[in-house]
Symmetry: C2
Subunit: 252 residues, 2 copies
Amino acid sequence: MPNPHDPQAADAAPPSAGHQIAESIRALILSGKLVVDERLPGEQELAARFGVSRPTVREALKRLAAQNLIRTRRGAAGGNFVNRISWSEAHDQLVCIATLLLTMAPIGAETVTEARQALLGACVPLAAARRRAEHLAAMRAEIAVQRDPATTDEAFCASDVRFHRALIDAAGNPLLSFQMAAVIEAIQPLLNMITYRRRDRAAIASRHEAIFTLLEMRDARGIAGELQALSDYTARLIGEAQALRTRRGGRT
Amino acid sequence: MPNPHDPQAADAAPPSAGHQIAESIRALILSGKLVVDERLPGEQELAARFGVSRPTVREALKRLAAQNLIRTRRGAAGGNFVNRISWSEAHDQLVCIATLLLTMAPIGAETVTEARQALLGACVPLAAARRRAEHLAAMRAEIAVQRDPATTDEAFCASDVRFHRALIDAAGNPLLSFQMAAVIEAIQPLLNMITYRRRDRAAIASRHEAIFTLLEMRDARGIAGELQALSDYTARLIGEAQALRTRRGGRT
DNA sequence: AATTTGAAATTGTCAAACATTTGAATGTTT
DNA sequence: AAACATTCAAATGTTTGACAATTTCAAATT
């Protein structure tokens, strides 16, 4: 039962000292009590303040560093500083989480394609209104790659990701680009693994070309229709793949 | 210029041993070479295998634990195991990242409201088609809270979040709910802090009531229009607030 | 005045030991 | 023989102490 909001997380292991210290510092950062670029006390002072040893406090700091909440510098004026998270770091973290969810959680392919379709559709009107020449150029380049018979399957998938990325970036909203990164870079490869066969490429490239032309004309409705067709096409491929797998004998 | 894809992340500090070890194990997990619930070698063996000491390997493991990639159990049959990430853990991480981005990155209020509006709009058709009685009930309860004069500002904001959450959950797609969590739980409070005043509450509650009625009738177009109106209203409030702040004297 | 040198501060890493927790093997009793 | 209590071993949690590497700053020197 994939309950999205599970209150008790199975085992109630008592959190370690390092975990608790990391949590308390994390709360200070998230609530804004520790400002960006502010320096935390040194490891020895933190250890004294929390009543633990230095390695313990170090573990807490490493936990925070793993979440990009702090950055660490050695040397005389070094120390641990509250980090201003960058777009690329946030992007990487989001893709990581989304990938984990998709590979480990019991999510059906229909759910995935539906979410992808819905979210892409949210970007289309903005993209049609704001697309610039650079976005069109990027998409055209990717279509050329996808049309090239010499392109490997992996390269085709990567190009597919970049194509959709250009479409999203055309919306000109960095927050949307950030959100959609999870959709494109985590969902898309998963779908590709399931469905892509060599003879599907031409059809997909044609759909992409249609989207390109419609985006050039700023026809949001048309793009939405093409995306829907592309999504339906993918859904059909998934259905066929699943039918094959079922016939070949059950799960896993 | 908030470039979403910043190649060089400022300083090129040489990654520490703990960081590198964590990265290599992380890659194994993300690529699926380490399966869920698989046990990692013990700390001593890992230390020997990577040619470092146990504290160093421990730091690497703590980094992974901070990302919910592994879970740790003490005792005889204990050790570090690849963790199956839960929806709530993923949810918390996403909200954390989104909150950090919104509070620290230079994002304009227009960008935020636009993204929120676009993504909410993506959920509306699905929600209209699939809403069940429980979603309507949840929304009705929140409207009652928002209508109550005894509700504090903070409680009103929280209720607002829950209202939108119910609308999203009505779409019946856990992936969408996951994605939108960032929008609702990170963006919404930020907007609330900027704009909400006591006399605006009635207007907002009325909008919510209209959305509720339209969702009951499964009128997707109508909901989209109401959401747009709500967004415009919010944008206007933000504009006024910013004008006030500018007149009162500059930034911060 | 510019350069070099060195000292100080801070994190990075290691080593060894002890504490705590947990599961399983072992022994004892009924 | 079965059920229960005890002990033991394995693994992580934590501490102490020390040394290495790195960076900054200031003093000394040319």
